[in-house]
């Protein structure tokens, strides 16, 4: 067994037998998933299948009922300082951006490094400007989130996540709240990240992105992982009935 095989086996993020209920509703059913360092995993599935919950469970924004989630070999702490420390290593990009409304673009990116990592202010600012440059919104640094387009806001949100030097970034439908003409600019930033070896979990229905950037597609339905395959295999030759139905539906639109 080669070294890279062992890494895949242990994984940077490992979920084992994860279960989650919302009251009576069983939203995550015995989830087993391992994500290797540098891997890009696209999670796809019908509405309500538990994709967001899966994402949120990985940084414990949503506590789970049973099972284990390991990050870099360590179990997720349940509350307090240790959990906050862990979350600092897991970036998250939300469907609705969630930029801090009362802070400027620059402050949105420096806030985490300053308050959580206690980075030197000069250095945090320099790094933030570099990241804003990288996502193409450096010229908006002194504006407030509400003054930016959705696509710009989402790129700032990606810069905010990157500023923490995360081990993995979770994206929950990062482009589904965007006007069509802005989707591409955000996807380009994400493809770029993927190429540079960032570990990413991306909930998205953008098949173009999955095909160019993903190593693996995970198909979820009704709280279960129904199918896992390379993007090529999954889109051209899905094995399960539910994946076939689902693809049939989204391809028609």
């Amino acid at each position: 067994m080669s070294d890279s095989d062992t890494l895949t086996k242990t994984g940077l993020v490992t979920l084992t037998g994860v279960n989650k209920h919302f009251g009576e509703l069983h939203v995550l059913k015995d989830i087993n998933l391992s994500i290797a360092k540098g891997e890009v995993v696209v999670v796809i599935g019908p509405s309500g299948s538990g994709k967001s919950t899966l994402c949120r469970a990985i940084n414990r924004l949503e506590p789970i009922d049973s099972g284990d989630i390991l990050l870099d070999g360590q179990a997720l702490p349940s509350e307090g300082k240790a959990l906050a420390k862990l979350r600092a290593d897991v970036g998250m990009v939300f469907q609705s951006f969630n930029l801090f409304a009362h802070k400027t673009i620059l402050q949105n990116v420096t806030l985490g490094p300053l308050k959580v990592r206690k980075t030197d202010p000069k250095q945090a600012e320099k790094r933030a400007m570099e990241l804003l440059e990288r996502v193409g919104v450096a010229n908006q640094a002194s504006k407030y989130p509400a003054q930016l387009s959705g696509g710009q806001q989402q790129r700032v949100a990606i810069a905010r996540a990157l500023a923490m030097d995360p081990k993995v970034i979770l994206f929950d439908e990062p482009t589904s709240a965007l006007d069509p003409e802005m989707i591409q600019e955000v996807l380009e930033v994400m493809v770029d990240l993927a190429k540079q070896g960032m570990t990413m979990v991306v909930v998205t229905h953008e098949m173009g992105f999955a095909r160019t950037a993903a190593n693996r597609v995970v198909f979820m339905a009704e709280g279960e992982i129904v199918e896992e395959a390379s993007p090529e295999t999954f889109f051209t030759n899905p094995t399960s009935r539910r994946a076939q139905d689902f693809l049939g539906k989204i391809l028609k639109h």
Partner: protein, 215 residues
């Protein structure tokens, strides 16, 4: 009419000065304790949430006079050493007003989209940081107007202390009636006094609202 005020100036002056002190001390303490209780009510710790909820439900539904009575007489019955009447009155006013401040803070926090605190938590901020850096600064705007109502109510509530041997402005009518002064004119002057005290509060509100105006 003016002679009623000028002839008894020390009585009015001392009474209102005590009212101002009662108001300021209880006001500051209520803001601090009420904000902490508000933080309890939105905290992830069930025991703290429960405590906050219990406190608010009990205190908001208890007449203030009863809170005073508990502190002044109840404590005496239990042989508890009480500080002087001024500080006991401050205690009663603070215990009572904190519950209202708590509710104002909590509903202000609830006006902020949950995505804001989720994003802050996802970045690795502690509960305290999420609250003080991200949520409360944004909630402040929604908090100011109802908070002013609570403070104005507190100002008026200080008059209850008169019934418990604290010689604030609310105790002036009784003293004046002993001196055989015109009751109606006395009450008129006291009303004017309270209106004057409310003016700075209104300016404070204007100023705070301007300061928190978002870009």
């Amino acid at each position: 009419m003016f002679s009623v005020l000028t002839d008894n100036w020390p009585l009015f002056r001392d009474g209102f000065w005590l009212t101002i002190r009662l108001f300021l001390v209880s006001g500051v303490l209520s803001l601090i304790i009420g904000t902490v209780l508000g933080a309890f009510r939105v905290s992830p710790v069930p025991a703290l949430r429960g405590f906050g909820t219990g406190y608010v439900n009990i205190l908001r539904n208890t007449p203030l006079t009863l809170v005073f009575a508990f502190l002044f007489f109840g404590a005496a019955k239990m042989d508890l050493a009480l500080p002087n009447p001024f500080w006991t009155a401050v205690g009663a006013l603070t215990i009572y007003t904190s519950a209202f401040v708590c509710e104002v803070v909590r509903s202000g926090v609830n006006t902020i989209a949950p995505g804001q605190s989720e994003a802050a938590r996802a970045v690795g901020m502690s509960f305290f940081q999420v609250l003080t850096i991200v949520v409360l600064p944004q909630a402040f705007r929604a908090i100011i107007p109802p908070l002013m109502s609570v403070l104005i109510a507190l100002l008026k509530n200080t008059t209850i202390a008169a019934g418990f041997s604290v010689v604030e402005a609310g105790s002036i009518p009784a003293a004046m009636s002993e001196r055989g002064e015109n009751q109606l004119v006395t009450l008129l002057w006291i009303t004017i006094g309270f209106l004057i005290l409310i003016v700075p509060l209104i300016f404070l509100q204007r100023w705070a609202e301007r300061r928190t105006a978002v870009a």
